[in-house]
Symmetry: C2
Subunit: 113 residues, 2 copies
Amino acid sequence: MIVKRVLKQDASLDLMFQALSDPARRGMIERLCKGPATVSELAAPLPMSLPAVVQHLKLLESSGLVRSAKSGRVRTCRIELAALDRAEQWLSERRSTWEGRLDRLGDYLAKER
Amino acid sequence: MIVKRVLKQDASLDLMFQALSDPARRGMIERLCKGPATVSELAAPLPMSLPAVVQHLKLLESSGLVRSAKSGRVRTCRIELAALDRAEQWLSERRSTWEGRLDRLGDYLAKER
């Protein structure tokens, strides 16, 4: 019987990459990397309704990439850089694995000469 | 009238981040970063049917992260590192924007003292 390896569950990476798979949400993240913004400020340049923007924001918040706080009637959003770093780290780890493989292949070929 | 900025369309980033949002697909990418693998080799550790694996592979190929070639009856898959780099680059550009903002804030505060 072949023992199936359990998939590495990482729901937070699932949600983060899902959050990043939409151009409107990436646009909001680009904006928030320049500094905090209110929901209206985030919505202003986007070709969609405010409720649609709020839906995108909810997904960004549930992914951990953005957090927001309400003061009076104004909700201000901020980027959560640590979350963005985690997604970047996953990708850079993959590249390291790949580069390590190339290095080993190079060593092997050098020995074989 | 407020002129709505057109969203930066980047369908390849959409597809890439979507491809990365699933643990089985991330598992396949992790495996392929260690070297090329046949479809059977990719499927072996995964707790799912071969057709399900093939579906995931199709999405990975359409995102540009993986390419495959058939030789006889065996299909071998390889990682497309340039695509992985693009996703990483998008994230690192966001971090640079953020860090640039912190630097400017630091300069401003230093001047104000």
